[in-house]
């Protein structure tokens, strides 16, 4: 019964989204204030109804209602309560519902926070968001309902994919969706600006904090996914360039470009049509990602064969959303030309290069990700794309970008002279070279020129990011949140680059067979297998070994890697034993039993691997600081005046 109510609530949410889109866009077009007021009510109603639908599904999972097909497919009575909740987004249907819920939360936030935006603009923005909700709600209702019943009910469920039974992965999808969904806000603002034919610095100031928040959440979401892959997939990699990861990474790259281009639009009133295009692209790629991740159009080209309706629906929906926005762009973009110029060497051109390089990197990844689709359509089929392609293709635009960044941070607007910072920049660069060489030659051993270049890039960015905050604070000047946020985020990037370069250059691993009592050496550490025993979890059985790691006779850590078998799906899973540390991770994963009590073990030494995720976290913190800048907060008096004026005109 509750499930049927949830289904009904979702239908109501769909109707309210329809009202939100109609009255929002129509009210703004026809200048009807009452319609615009209705829009806000519809936003609230849609949120409440979507929440009801979501909660009813959560209820079905919580009480193990296996007469609901989706629950029977993705849960089990033995599944711990926490994962029963996380199982809601364990597959396609539930994830879409979560997506819709998160979108409606963003919409409510825009309606609540956007009181300083003219009513007509906010009305259009809410209308566009309503249109997106209509698309998702109808997609769920027509092709992917999680509320379908199963008669007769299953005795027990098929269980959640064991890979997903992990805390980091349980919160990874909601974070990712929140980030993706968040890009719908700049998208909606872009469409509103194009409809209105007006785009100025005020507009950029409305949009930028939303973009920053969406971006920082996406940053954390991606980092969580990478961290999860590292310890759960059992072979110690942290990024695989598979299509699902790429799908999450492309909106991030474009979102990064958008943040930077918005800065130019805000400060100088330039790059307007470019900013619009990036806002459209960031959301389009998020949309693409959403569908790629769950429906697997790429991994298995045949995923839609069972339900061709789904594929077609997605295509029509994406076509109308993205195609509509791009059509509007083709029609209106010429309104947003600006005449202000800037010198070849100026902050504007550095930011332009940042944008071009980020977009190029995204294009290369998109090409690599979609190639099976292209080839299938063209009946050709003789190239292959794997990590070797992506690593090289990504590095080519990114390496120069990181070096340009060291200068770009300090370039002045209009014409850059670097008068103030020249000596400090030179000093930072020299210091970066020295530190990189020390690290390359003394701490570790010489690896390759690329490694040295990577280290120089990391330290140059880190030191360069420090220049601004340190000099300002030393001179007793205050530091705006915007500048501090930028410096912190760039410092985070430096930490990330350092982590990536180090771990890729100086990791050690070995595969070895050990029997209890035997030991082996890796990277100066002594790994001794103490014992092997059987352990039992709530819904799995495992074989666990105890490995004692010591260095120069002193014990460093004891880890307990496991080889689990989840009972319901009978699938094996490797749970690595990791001794984490800032300087290095020591990673032990169990392979296969080799008979005679011997096991194959995979041992890894990963220097500075934590810096990868730390860097992402610091970047996200930088985004948060920048979003909290005073200039984005409502200036109540001025806004009240604007609203009053608008009320008169409409």
């Amino acid at each position: 019964m509750i499930v049927e109510l949830g289904h009904f609530a979702l239908i109501l949410a769909f109707c309210l989204a329809l009202a939100q889109a109609f009255f929002g866009l129509g009210g703004a077009a026809l200048r009807k204030p009452h319609w615009m007021v209705v829009t806000r009510r519809a936003v609230a109603g849609q949120f409440v109804m979507t929440l009801c639908a979501f909660l009813s599904l959560a209820y079905a999972f919580n009480v193990n209602d296996f007469s609901v097909l989706y629950v029977a497919l993705n849960s089990n009575s033995q599944l711990p309560t926490f994962y029963r909740f996380a199982a809601i987004w364990g597959a396609h249907e539930g994830s879409l519902l979560l997506w819709l819920l998160i979108l409606s939360i963003w919409t409510v936030a825009v309606a609540a926070r956007g009181t300083h935006v003219p009513q007509i603009t906010i009305s259009r923005v809410l209308g566009v968001l309503g249109f997106i909700s209509v698309g998702f709600a109808s997609f769920i209702l027509l092709t992917s309902s999680p509320f379908e019943r199963l008669w007769p009910a299953a005795l027990d469920g098929r269980d959640l994919n064991p890979l997903l039974q992990d805390p980091a992965l349980a919160i990874h999808p909601p974070m990712l969706y929140t980030g993706w969904c968040g890009f719908s806000v700049p998208f909606a603002f872009a469409v509103a600006a194009m409809l209105e034919g007006k785009l100025d610095s005020t507009w950029a100031r409305w949009v930028r904090p939303w973009t920053l928040v969406a971006w920082l959440i996406l940053t954390i979401g991606i980092a969580l996914g990478s961290w999860w892959a590292y310890y759960e997939l059992g072979w110690g990699g942290w990024w695989f360039w598979d299509s699902v990861e790429n799908a999450s990474f492309m909106p991030w790259l474009i979102g990064t470009a958008l943040i930077h281009s918005l800065a130019v639009t805000e400060k100088r009133g330039l790059f307007k049509s470019w900013t619009l295009l990036l806002a459209i692209a960031a959301f389009s790629l998020s949309l693409l990602g959403t569908f790629l991740v769950r429906s697997g159009i790429i991994e298995s080209v045949h995923a839609f064969a069972s339900d061709p309706g789904r594929g077609l629906f997605i295509l029509v929906f994406m076509g109308s959303c993205v195609g509509g926005a791009l059509g509007l762009y083709a029609w209106r973009a010429s309104l947003f030309r600006s005449n202000a110029g800037f010198a070849v060497v100026s902050r504007e051109s550095f930011l332009l290069m940042n944008n071009v390089l980020l977009v190029a990197a995204t294009g290369l990844i998109l090409l690599g990700t979609l190639y099976p689709v292209f080839l299938d359509a063209l009946k050709a089929g003789k190239i292959s794309v794997g990590p070797p392609y992506f690593s090289v293709a990504f590095l080519i635009p990114m390496l120069p970008m990181i070096f340009l960044l060291t200068l770009g941070m300090h370039a002045e607007w209009k014409r850059a002279t670097f008068n103030r910072t020249r000596t400090l920049l030179v000093a930072a660069f020299v210091a970066a070279v020295v530190i990189a060489l020390i690290l390359s030659l003394a701490v570790y051993e010489w690896h390759s020129l690329l490694t040295a270049v990577g280290l120089i890039a990391a330290f140059a960015v880190a030191l360069s990011a420090l220049i601004e905050p340190v000099t300002r604070l030393r001179q007793g000047h205050s530091l705006s949140a915007g500048v501090l946020g930028m410096s912190v985020a760039h410092f985070g990037l430096a930490i990330f680059v350092l982590g990536v370069t180090t771990v890729e250059s100086w990791h050690h691993d070995s595969d070895i067979s050990l029997r209890p009592g035997q030991s082996t050496q890796l990277a100066g550490y002594d790994f001794r297998m103490n014992s092997i025993r059987d352990v039992t979890g709530p819904n799995y059985d495992a074989i666990e070994s105890e490995v004692v790691i010591s260095r120069a006779g002193k014990q460093v850590a004891v880890v307990h890697p496991q080889k689990r078998t989840y009972r319901v799906q009978n699938s094996p899973l490797t749970e690595a034993g990791i001794d984490a540390g800032w300087g290095r991770d020591l990673f032990v994963a169990m392979g296969e039993p080799l008979g005679d009590g011997a096991w194959s073990l995979r041992l890894q030494y990963k220097p500075l691997v934590r810096f990868i995720w730390l860097g992402a976290l610091v970047m996200a913190i930088g985004g948060l600081i920048a979003a909290s800048d005073r200039r984005y907060r409502q200036r109540v008096t001025a806004d009240a005046a604007v609203r009053a004026r608008h009320a008169e005109t409409v």
Binding site: L233, W235, F240, D242, V244, S273, L277, I280, S284, I297, E299, S300, V301, H302, A303, F304, A305, P308, G311, L312, L315, M318, G319, V322, G323, L326, G327, Y329, A330, W331, A333, S334, L370, Y371, P372, V373, F374, L375, D376, A377, G381, K382, I383, S384, G386, P387, P388, D511, S571, P572, G591, E592, S600, R602
Partner: protein, 176 residues
């Protein structure tokens, strides 16, 4: 201002590709190899570069050819199904390790188990080109006459095995 039309033009092209892709899927595009003799090949084995594995080793009996790589996430996903199929012993599975790192491939087999009767190492992807492979994993069924009977793209599952492979394998067994 024609240049403002460029984005929507690119997008339209993309949508067209997707549309053709979806449309194709409904008819399950057969490989041009289906019904034709399987390409002849000879490659060093994954385990031992000095040892050669060649198509003639399997002539006269049906076999399954599975293209995989350690960098391919779906291959990891399908590995348990391959192990289960190998255990049933209905047909030998021959692996082609595609554009891969030999050490990593050996490690993979050690760690995840080895469903293959033989595993060829196609480091440059030359043999895979003859087979028209454009992604991993792909799985082919070759009959006792040496003809390609079926090709499956993406992850192998027990469902696919019972639905698409087993009937063709049995048909092959009884007619001869």
């Amino acid at each position: 201002m024609w240049r403002y039309l460029i984005p929507i033009g690119l997008f339209a092209a993309l949508v067209a590709f997707f549309y053709v892709g979806i449309d194709r899927d409904k008819q399950t595009l057969p490989s041009p190899l289906i019904g034709k003799p399987a390409p002849q090949w000879q490659l060093p084995s994954v385990e031992d570069p000095a040892k050669m594995v060649s198509s003639s080793d399997f002539a006269g009996k049906p076999y399954v050819l599975n293209v995989w790589a350690t960098w391919c996430a779906e291959c990891r996903h399908e590995h348990s199904a391959l192990l289960a199929i190998a255990q049933r012993g209905e047909v030998p599975i021959v692996g082609v390790d595609w554009k891969d790192d030999r050490d990593q491939a050996q490690r993979w087999l050690q760690q995840l188990g080895n469903p293959y009767v033989a595993n060829a190492y196609d480091g440059e992807g030359r043999v895979a080109i003859d087979w028209g492979v454009y992604g991993a994993p792909e799985t082919f069924l070759v009959d006792s006459q040496g003809n390609v009977v079926f090709k499956h793209i993406s992850s192998m599952t027990m469902e696919v095995w019972e639905r698409d492979f087993l009937p063709r394998l049995k048909g092959n067994g009884t007619s001869r």
